[in-house]
Amino acid sequence: MTTATGIRRGRLGESARRPDGGPKVRGQFAFSSDLFAEGMLWGHLVRSPHAAATIRGVDISEATKASGVHAVLTADDVPGRKTFGLDYPDQPVFAWDVARYMGEPIAAVAADHPDTARRAAAGSSSARLRSATSRM
């Protein structure tokens, strides 16, 4: 049989039909963000607003108390080694003492709605991050 491009199928050296093509064009292929579970929580990260900064402390008390928030995690909550990496596991899961790039994760909020997580994350971040003079 011929396709629109005139290529006959089923022979050596031909263009094979992509097996996940059908589900993908139907919107039925599950990407990781499509995963769903009843009662699942939503996460939002608190990220460093500074490219190079000293972290004097992270105040999570208000975020933890907020309605709908189930957990707030920092480097203190990371069991075992607090860094990860493929060849050199030296990258902090959550930054502590020092933030090394703008956007580096410092804490994570888990809540029952993404907007709740986001608001809690915004509340807990700015007040307690003091930046040192830039080392760049």
């Binding site: 907007d115 986001r118 608001r119 915004a122």
Partner: protein, 292 residues
């Protein structure tokens, strides 16, 4: 805690009386970006999607009255683009088809970003913005309406109802420069209208100041140098360069994350130069009395 879904202007006014502090929502292409990023927390919203009176337009003599709910796609349709070619050109530079299908003229005005693409065109056309609440309307010029970056004269309880512009005025050009050639907020945008009948030149600049700027000196210069009978500039290329220089002098740009004041000044001159050059190239057909 409510979304109001008025189906008519009357109902919209009523909703606004019930909730004068409600957010107005048309296309949502500015509003929803703020909501999605957590920078805005809606509490009461009056959604204007269903208000038919806002989405139409009509001809009134030598004016076109544009409903504030007209989308960029609407502005690009043949019948409107023939009457308002500069506005159609500007609309086509906005976003993507998805954005153009929902973003509105009223929204562009209401947001009043210094980079708003319809704003220089409306400024060059001396548009009149009609604001309404139940039982009363106000008419403001662009200068009176757009007060500063993201600041307008719109009062609580008012909405932008329509915009009045001259129909088929002269030869129009709109140019825009961005950090890429599509789906981008303007680094510089320029609208030019040359009215061969009225013998006037209007040149409005966007993204080079807190509000759209009419380059008055450049306009006056071009008006004095255009050969209104035969077309072209009396001083040729030198006049064109002088025009561009006067446009540059009128700009008051800033440095920001998109561009520098220096580049913006340069780019606005290039756009003005190109715009006038294109209009003059078409001029032959104008002096013969045909629409270009």
């Amino acid at each position: 805690m409510t979304v109001y879904l008025p189906a008519s202007l009357e109902e919209a006014f009523e909703a606004f009386e019930l909730a004068p502090d409600a957010d107005l929502l048309a296309g949502g292409t500015d509003y929803m970006v703020e909501v999605n990023s957590g920078h805005r927390h809606p509490s009461k919203v009056v959604a204007l999607r269903k208000v038919g009176e806002l989405a139409g337009w009509r001809r009134e003599g030598d004016e076109v009255v544009l409903g504030a709910g007209l989308t960029y796609t609407d502005l690009m349709q043949p019948d409107l683009s023939e009457l308002l070619p500069g506005l159609a050109q500007a609309a086509r530079t906005v976003g993507s088809p998805q954005i153009r299908n929902v973003g509105t003229l009223g929204g562009n005005l209401g947001t009043a970003s210094p980079a708003g693409d319809t704003l220089p065109v409306l400024s060059a056309l001396d548009a009149v913005v009609v604001l309404g609440r139940r039982g009363s309307v106000r008419r403001l010029t662009m200068h009176e309406f757009v007060l500063g970056p993201k600041a307008t004269a719109l009062e609580p309880g008012e909405l932008i109802v329509e915009v009045r512009v001259p129909a088929a005025l002269g030869s129009q050009e709109f140019l825009k420069v961005g950090t890429r050639n599509a789906m981008v907020i303007a680094v510089v945008n320029v609208a030019l209208v040359v009215d061969w009948v009225g013998r006037s030149v209007r040149c409005a600049l966007g993204s080079v100041g807190p509000v759209p700027i009419r380059a008055g000196e450049a306009e006056a210069f071009a008006e004095s140098r255009i050969d209104w009978a035969a077309g072209g500039l009396t001083g040729g290329a030198a006049d064109l360069a002088e025009f561009a220089g006067l446009v540059r002098a009128a700009a008051r740009p800033i440095d920001d994350h998109r561009s520098t004041a220096e580049y913006r000044t340069h780019a606005v001159g290039v756009c003005a130069h190109r715009a006038l050059d294109r209009v003059l190239a078409r001029a032959g057909s104008w002096t013969l009395g045909h629409a270009s």
